[in-house]
């Protein structure tokens, strides 16, 4: 990258921060190795999606405002979650529509925020991280990542370039895993049936690892896999890639 | 006495206007786009391509098509189909186009028990007869290449029931009336004098209502044959 370092701020998301901090380590490792001058604004918490989706928009707005303030000075904002980024890019504008004070600030944040794999492939133009991992993997295309953020090829390109990694086909891949945030507890029984179907598809693929761009889904799928005593692991794409890179 | 007639139209429409927050527009509302995307009408396939497309699409739906360039081959083609389905009786439109193609004569030559649709007969009786024969034979006014559909316009001679009630439908279609899309047929219509029924028939009557298992002929014809003149 030479002398012109690209500056970016990491929005780690509350799930990664508290439950899967290794994913954060991985993102840092990958971006720094590729010449990104990374910072981590400490005031960040949650994008507010749980409240927004449940219909508590005032609560969601408060959290959104916090996030907007936190990243006001950032050049780029990068996050290892298609869903949280979709919340920012797609739902914040709705939430603040007609709010003169906040509309432009939202617009500014929207324009500089990227999901991790999109940032790597589309902004940094990096598709090959020089990683090596002898594993059989399926990729679960998370709903918000694919349908709202239109993340399709980016993660696949990154995975394809991992030496010795075998990317298998996931039957019925485009089907939701049943997470859906509060949906998973509000309609727990239905959510369970949906994730069970996802798990069966993963098992059918013969993979050792299911990966993806979103920890909400992976937490759901992984939680079910483990609960049912299956050895397949659910690992975020950043972690999978980082583990295959030299220290 | 019917009470819910035009009298409450005004009230009904006023409610819509008030919900939409404006008075009802006095003239046709302007807009910039209508109909299918622009690219849809751009390509102009040749007559040959249209014919090939039409046949391929119809046959995918189990419709049998036969192109006839010599009028003398009509009888053998229809005769082949008739013996294939072991038909004994047939109902035929009494239309000038079918007569010109000698269809009624051919039916008789083939030894079929022929009924001509007679629009001056008793309605119930005629419909009953239509339901009791093995084959209905009609003209088709247009073909749609991209879907393998045929379009039939109703009029006193061109009965709707003949293409619907018998278990087999044979249609005669002129090659040059095969047009690329449904919309091309729409442009041939006189909107001030539309037929009471314009039906596009795309393959046989079908259903997948039982375990998604495809079955043909649940109400309408199970078999469709199209003889293309040209």
């Amino acid at each position: 990258m030479g002398g012109s370092l690209l500056r970016a701020s990491l929005f780690i998301t509350c799930i990664a921060d508290n439950f899967f901090p290794k994913v954060g380590d991985s993102v840092v490792k990958i971006l720094r190795k590729n010449g990104v001058d990374l910072d981590f604004p400490k005031d960040q918490t949650c994008c507010g999606q749980p409240a927004f989706n449940a219909g508590y928009w005032d609560e969601a707005k408060d959290l959104a405002k916090g996030l907007i303030r936190t990243f006001e000075k950032s050049e780029y904002v990068v996050s290892p979650s298609g869903s949280c980024v979709a919340m920012i890019k797609h739902d914040y504008p709705q939430l603040f529509a007609g709010d003169q004070l906040w509309e432009s600030r939202v617009k500014e944040l929207v324009s500089k925020t990227y999901e991790f794999s999109q940032f790597l492939v589309n902004v940094l133009k990096i598709e090959d991280l020089g990683a090596r991992q002898q594993v059989k993997v399926v990729y679960h295309p998370s709903c918000h990542a694919t349908r709202i953020m239109e993340i399709h090829e980016e993660p696949i390109k990154l995975l394809h370039n991992v030496k010795e990694l075998e990317l298998l086909e996931l039957p019925n891949a485009d089907q939701c895993c049943g997470f859906g945030g509060t949906f998973s507890v509000k309609m727990a029984a239905v959510s369970e049936e949906i994730v069970e179907e996802k798990v069966r598809n993963i098992l059918e693929s013969g993979a050792d690892i299911v990966t993806g761009t979103d920890l909400g889904c992976l937490m759901n799928i992984g939680g079910r896999l483990e609960h049912q005593g299956h050895s397949v692991q659910a690992i975020h794409i950043a972690q999978l890639l980082a583990e295959g890179m030299e220290a | 006495m019917i009470t819910y007639t035009d009298s409450n139209e005004e009230h009904f429409l006023e409610k819509l206007a008030s919900k939409l927050g404006r008075p009802t527009p006095g003239k046709i509302p302007t807009r910039h786009i209508s109909g299918p995307p622009d690219f849809w009408t751009k390509t102009q396939p040749s007559q040959d391509e249209l014919l090939q497309q039409f046949i391929a699409n119809a046959e995918r739906l189990t419709v049998k098509c036969q192109l006839i360039s010599n009028k003398n081959d009509i009888q053998s083609t229809i005769g082949g189909w008739i013996s294939e389905i072991k038909a004994k009786s047939i109902i035929c439109w009494d239309s000038p186009e079918l007569k010109q193609a000698s269809i009624p004569d051919i039916c008789q030559n083939l030894g079929l028990n022929l009924t001509l649709w007679n629009h001056q007969a008793d309605r119930r009786e005629m419909i009953r007869q239509c339901a009791n024969v093995d084959v209905g034979i009609t003209w088709a006014d247009y073909g749609v290449a991209n879907t393998g559909s045929m379009a039939i316009l109703s009029n006193p001679v061109q009965s709707r029931a003949v293409s619907l009630l018998p278990p087999v439908h044979i249609a005669i279609l002129k090659r040059e009336t095969i047009l690329p899309h449904m919309g091309d047929i729409f442009t041939k219509l006189d909107y001030t004098d539309l037929p009471s029924s314009l039906t596009f028939i795309t393959g046989p009557s079908r259903t997948s209502d039982i375990e998604m298992d495809l079955a043909l002929g649940v109400h309408g014809p199970a078999k469709v044959f199209i003889l293309i003149l040209g």
């Binding site: 981590f40 219909g55 | 709707r160 029931a161 259903t207 109400h219």
Partner: protein
Amino acid sequence: MTTLMNENFKKRIKFALHNKSMREAIKKATTILKNNRLKAAEEMGDWDEWRQRGKDIRSHVIANLDYYLKQFADNVRAKGGKVYYAGQAEDVIQVVMEIVNQHQAKTVAKSKSMISEEVHLNKALYDRGIEAIETDLAEYIIQLAEEPPSHIIVPAIHKNRNEIADLFSKEAGKEISSDTPSLNAFARKTLREKFLTADIGLTGCNFAIAETGSIVLVSNEGNGRMVSTLPKVHIVLMGMERIVPNFSDLEAVLNLLPRSATGQKYTSYTSIISGPSHPGELDGPEEMHVIIVDNGRTNLLGEKDFQEALRCIRCGACFNVCPVYRQIGGHAYGSVYGGPIGAVITPLLNNDLKNWGELPYASSLCAACSEACPVMIPLHELLVKLRYRRFKAGYTSSMEHMAFKVFRHYFGNPRRYRFAMKSGYYLQRPLMRGNHLEGGPTPLSGWTNSRYFPAVAQKPFRQRWDEIQKGSEER
């Protein structure tokens, strides 16, 4: 958050989840329909451009619905048809009964109409001694089963062949075998007689053309053609939003509807009916009555967000991709319209977020519905908006609201957030098994009953960041 779902809805879902044969049937059928749709869309060039057209045409109609309805009605009358406006369900029944009485009719042969389901027409006719016969095979099956449709395109999607054979055998008074040809043959024979003898034919209306006063029926079996051809009287039940301005627009929506519904280019029959039979025509109806129905649709009109749902062309594509519908089927919704579109329009049509307000939660918000919709209704967004509206109307539980207030309190402030997560780390200990949690109170137990929940990390990322920073400085 203890009162998560209304008991009835919960019960219906539980009931549905236990119905293995129904769930298997639905999974099989919706998967086929979905794949067919994708294939059919592929050959149309830029499918999204088609969808955009569908959206533009339908939005334009809805925004000018009063104008186009008037134009349509004038043209129906000019062609010798009669037009009625029905504000509510009772009005529809009254008009139908007046026509029935005028003709001293005893039987009404029907092809599929969702309006008829909305107003419970069959029951109303039955109560008044009139026989209503559903002639669509699937509708016939569920009429015999005395059940409502569970899918708007494939109404008997939940029934397997054995169940159907039982119903037919009971009706026939003898054993009907469960193979498809036998079942179809029985239906053809039984219903054929009904077509030929019915006094009145009644259909829905897939589209209505304003410019010409025509109505458009699509059907695969041909029953729609039968009931609009053989009886002397044809009644059309038409949702007031079914309009397209002209024939060119019709071509656009007709390329969207069957492809989205079943993956067919066109259904076997597409009939464009313009008034009753012309003089000299022996078949076809002598009278045509078009009943334009509101029944709650005006509740969506002029509502910036929800007016979009009136674009719907009733293709059912959203049912076929919905992971929730896939598991629970149509009956669990308890409404005439199920699936994602049903979850959106039911509370609105009924103007009742109290009793129907829980349907919008029957979604993981995966957006598969919005992606499949041929007229680009942002269904998943409308579901969220309905949740918001329900909360604003005061129908969500105070416990739930409290939970989100607490959420805001802690997650809305960085210091309180750190404190909460630290507390979480200690509080979770009784539930910790290895690196995950088991059991716990509602709503956590909803999750932990079927999945492990990850434990809060001892060292959250923000703490590790400090160490990473220190490490890189030292280096």
